[in-house]
Amino acid sequence: MADLNPISVWRKFLSTPNESRVKTLCVAFIVSAACALMVTAATVVLRPIQAQNRAAEQEARLEALIAAVPGMAELVGAAGGAALSTVVVDLRRGTAAAEITPETLQAALSDPANWTEIAPGDDVAGIRSRPDFAQIYLLREGERVSLAILPIVGTGYNGRIQALLALNGDMQTLAGIAITEQSETPGLGARIEEPRWQQSFAGKQLFDAAGSARFTVARGQARTDHEVDGITGATRTSNAITQMVRFWVGPHGYGPLMAAIRRREF
């Protein structure tokens, strides 16, 4: 008669020689199951706290960017912080996205249908494909948009660079930049994180009179008002910043949206 008492079955299992096939399989299964349980528990329990951290970090970067733009802190402060509105935009048409809210943006972007491949010739920022929707921040003064904060992304020397680019209401003058994610070489390319360098973006002009993007991170000192100082020893990182700014203010980036803001459609 088969013994069904779990304790004695367990004892019998433990006393089986280690080299038997059944025991090998069972040990492998039990260890995997226990480990899977531990990992899952840790992930599930800690996920809300991690999401909170990420949101707080994004918030802090945005606040730092606003603080860095001259006169902006007072403007936002005067309106009680509510002046800065969050908008999800459709990059293809340059309009506010009708169905997608900041809450559903993550879900929408996990669908490959909402991404557009960039042809290699146009892909100056080295990102290969671009989301069709992006969450931007607008500051209004009466009816007019006086500041737009646009998330941009590009490929640097060691990996992806993410940043928030702040443009004045004329969509021509830069108000500031905040690097939100980078993995450039410490001491060289990673100096794009330095506030002093980021502050030099304020007041720079994006386009020339003919309307083509002229913004450049210079080699060495900035000479024109389209240029910011280059970072010594980090030519590739400097070029990457130039390319990503130019890409995102161009026709495949926020170009249509910026045209709509210039036409006062926002």
């Binding site: 080299e19 090998t24 492998a28 706290i49 970090e57």
Partner: protein
């Protein structure tokens, strides 16, 4: 009494006499990568110590029932799970630090010190003794990380734990930071120097030469 002394010996041996980094030259990849500042070095050392102690305890508990054929896989899966838990914990409660450590916490799973201790010690010893041995190895690794991390942060940025100790020339002080200290090669130089210093102080750590250079016949 003898047992306690044995445990004390197990704990202290890997600190200097049997240091896993400087004597066995194990785990130097992460030792080079995370030592640009003291706080990342401390966090990494703590994370590794927690992982190695827990893994050694678990492996030692089930040591009698690990089939030899799959012993390495069992050890790796236990270690890897611990690493994921520690990584998730850091992301939840030390978000900023975990951003800076990026992938290196996950790479503890491949750290030779961890697998080395579970394979060579925890598989043959009772839990308490294994955990003490693992703690010693973790602290030995941490000690090297802290020494190198402190040196790099102090001379590379004039700070320790983010507190400015040496006034920077840029801000009107006298200290010009050594940019090299923040780059990976400096960790090699420092680690090399540390190994050299330790082997000069404790000559018994010097390995026998495996190859002797050829005698060049003198031509007279």
């Amino acid at each position: 009494m003898a047992a306690a002394e044995g445990l004390w010996g197990t704990l202290t041996a890997p600190l200097i006499r049997q240091n896993p980094v400087t004597l066995q030259i194990l785990g130097i990849c992460s030792a080079l990568a995370v030592t640009t500042s003291l706080d990342t070095a401390l966090t990494m050392a703590t994370a590794l110590t927690v992982v190695i102690v827990c893994a050694a305890g678990v492996i030692s508990l089930i040591r009698a029932h690990i089939p030899a054929a799959i012993r390495l896989i069992v050890q790796i899966i236990v270690v890897a799970s611990m690493v994921i838990v520690v990584d998730q914990f850091l992301q939840a409660f030390f978000f900023e630090l975990s951003q800076r450590l990026s992938v290196f916490v996950s790479l503890i799973a491949t750290n030779c010190i961890v697998l080395g201790r579970t394979e060579s010690f925890a598989r043959a010893n009772p839990p308490l003794r294994s955990m003490v041995d693992a703690l010693g190895s973790g602290l030995g690794y941490g000690l090297v990380l802290v020494v190198i991390g402190a040196t790099r942060e102090l001379f590379g940025a004039g700070r320790l734990l983010g507190i400015q100790l040496l006034p920077l020339a840029e801000e009107g002080g006298w200290f010009t930071p050594l940019g090299l200290m923040l780059l990976a090669p400096s960790a090699f130089f420092l680690l090399g120097g540390l190994v050299w210093a330790m082997r000069s102080l404790w000559p018994e750590q010097v390995e026998d030469t495996e190859f002797s250079p050829h005698e060049i016949a003198s031509q007279d």
